[in-house]
């Protein structure tokens, strides 16, 4: 709770930094504030307090995810300097980032559906503006518009679902809804419109996490938005959305999982196949990463399908590994796409120029692909193990198959980067200190988590 208040106040203060002319302090202020918020969140570990007549509930689950998204934002800030310096409205951008984070924290910690909606809207509305924040770029405008129209439409589904659930349980409170679902399910008297509500809420949430068949917005929006905002969306926002998804379904609808688990299993299989197969044929690195993020959404959905003792820890570990890998990959993309060309061919000759950094990028890509010594493998392992225990063997098989497809295009990054530079290439990949720092940190963390994955996984089990 303290972390949430600190982030919200920090947003207001950064908003004031331009009109009261302390813009120079902007980034240091944000970094110090976020560090403080992260410290406060970790300091609350094992307390589990319900605030404001059970509107938000900061248990270990939400504290872990809160700390994770704050740390990811801090890592993201390392490469974000260009985004804030060269713009006349950088104070607003910093404010919007902080408000997005604020919404994300509420989404990890809500204990009431109304609070969930408030958090989702704070996150989404800031993000619509951020997606179109490159005002003079037509693609960025298009991305913002598409995201806004489709996002508000999906929110409509979510709200309709909430209304039906409220109509049945007569409460927005997660605990009360869970009690209602449990008692009616025990007598086999769950009314039809509870099922409808669950399905509609699932549709709204699946849009937010870009699961197929609700993924069509993702590649266009990811491509059009400024690269740094895409990196933020693919990591922090996706983690928060999954935290909310898992929290809702594990708290409330576990007792009627017989109804939705099969549906979600099929959707998760379709999502990872769609993401991985479509990523293979992409020539733009940015679009490829967008499809890869769709595929990873499919893997994370598997943890919600499994819904057993280890899924909470598994989804946390997976979100961490995926976000670290994505941040590293996007840092590299941002470095080579300075002139607006995001083709994967730009990576040619990258390894010859930057031996160490190409190696680190290799580690990150291996982690995304899920090759043993790195974090991504153990994240996948725990997810698959949980799903296996819940008797969805076919889903594990599909997941392994689609991982193999994934290996193909992830390795294309590595193969392209060790190839000699083509004569036509005009863009010289140049890594700045910030990009190098983020590559180093995310690769080291990916390796560290790969060596000792049980720590993160065990936090929530």
């Amino acid at each position: 709770m303290k972390a949430l208040i600190v982030i919200a106040l920090l947003g207001v203060v950064t908003m004031m930094s331009e009109v009261f002319r302390f813009k120079k302090l902007l980034l240091p202020l944000v970094v110090v504030g976020l560090l403080a918020a992260c410290g406060l969140a970790i300091g609350d570990w094992n307390t589990a307090i319900r605030y404001y007549s059970d509107m938000v509930y900061f248990d270990n689950y939400s504290l872990a995810f809160t700390s994770l998204i704050i740390v990811l934002t801090l890592l993201w800030l390392i490469i974000s300097k260009g985004y804030f310096v060269s713009d006349s409205s950088r104070a607003e951008h910093a404010t919007l980032i902080l408000f997005t984070l604020c919404g994300g924290v509420i989404m990890t910690a809500y204990s009431d559906l109304s609070m969930f909606f408030v958090g989702l809207e704070i996150l989404s509305i800031s993000l619509y503006v951020l997606a179109s924040s490159n005002k003079h770029d037509l693609k960025s405008n298009e991305a913002g518009m598409k995201y806004f129209l489709m996002g508000s439409f999906a929110t409509g589904f979510l709200l309709f679902g909430m209304a039906l659930i409220y109509g049945a349980a007569a409460s927005f409170n997660l605990v009360k809804i869970a009690e209602y679902v449990q008692t009616t399910a025990a007598h086999g008297q769950t009314p039809m419109f509870v099922y409808t509500g669950v399905l509609l809420m699932m549709v709204g949430l699946m849009f937010k996490v870009s699961a197929a068949p609700f993924h069509f917005w993702a590649p266009d929006v990811y491509e059009g938005a400024p690269t740094l905002i895409t990196a933020f969306m693919a990591t922090v926002v996706k983690t928060a959305a999954f935290a909310a998804f898992y929290r809702l379904f594990s708290t409330c609808f576990g007792d009627i999982s017989g109804f939705w688990a099969q549906t979600l299993a099929v959707i998760s299989a379709v999502t990872m196949l769609t993401g991985n197969i479509l990523a293979v044929s992409q020539t733009s690195l940015k679009r490829m990463l967008a499809y890869s993020s769709i595929a990873h959404a499919g893997y994370m959905l598997m943890a919600i399908v499994a819904m057993n003792k280890i899924s909470g820890g598994a989804i946390f570990l997976y979100a961490t590994a995926y976000s670290l890998g994505s941040l590293g990959a996007f840092a590299c993309l941002h470095a080579i796409s300075k002139y607006g060309d995001e083709s994967i061919e730009n990576l040619k000759g990258f390894a010859a120029d930057n031996k160490i950094w190409a190696g680190l990028l290799g580690v990150i890509v291996l982690s995304l692909a899920g090759i043993p010594p790195v974090a991504g493998f153990f994240a996948k392992y725990y997810i698959f193990y949980g799903v296996f225990q819940s008797n969805f063997t076919w889903l594990v098989l599909v997941a392994i198959l689609s991982s193999l497809i994934g290996v193909y295009y992830y390795f294309r990054i590595i193969i392209t980067m060790v190839q000699p530079r083509s004569e036509k290439a005009t863009v010289l990949p140049a890594l700045t200190g910030a990009h190098k720092a983020l590559l180093l940190i995310s690769a080291l963390l990916a390796l560290g988590i790969g060596i000792y994955p049980a720590f993160l996984q065990g936090l929530l089990s």
């Binding site: 331009e18 039809m192 419109f193």
Partner: protein, 126 residues
């Protein structure tokens, strides 16, 4: 699973849809058929408070009007939140000043927003 409600129970909803659509269609066609038609030049003109209409209505006008209007709506909506608070205040104030403090926080954030738009020059007309 045992179904408490069968699809037949939702028949009233389907009937309501039919009635709603039917009413709209009925009114649209009924006014069309029943009303008298005078197609003179004056009747077909756009009504402009009695003044003769001229020119194109799709003129570009200053974005400032829109900005002022949207800021007004914003603060207007936020003031609406004070009504339920004021109605319940007599009851809440018996239990201490918490409700008062919460409204102060809300108004404080509102004032920050106001300061922000004034300092940004959003209300400057010239």
């Amino acid at each position: 699973m045992v179904l408490l409600s069968t699809p037949v129970d939702y028949l009233p909803i389907a009937m309501m849809f039919v009635v709603a659509i039917g009413f709209v269609l009925f009114v649209m066609f009924a006014t069309h058929w029943m009303g008298p038609k005078h197609k003179s030049k004056v009747k077909l003109e756009a009504f402009e408070c009695g003044i003769e209409s001229k020119g194109n209505s799709r003129l570009p006008f200053s974005i400032k009007y829109f900005l002022i209007a949207i800021l007004f709506v914003l603060f207007d909506v936020e003031v609406i939140f004070m009504y339920p608070w004021a109605v319940n205040f007599a009851e809440w104030s018996k239990h201490g000043l918490a409700a008062f403090g919460e409204m102060l926080v809300f108004l404080g954030l509102l004032v920050f927003g106001l300061i922000y738009i004034i300092r940004k020059g959003a209300l400057k007309w010239e």
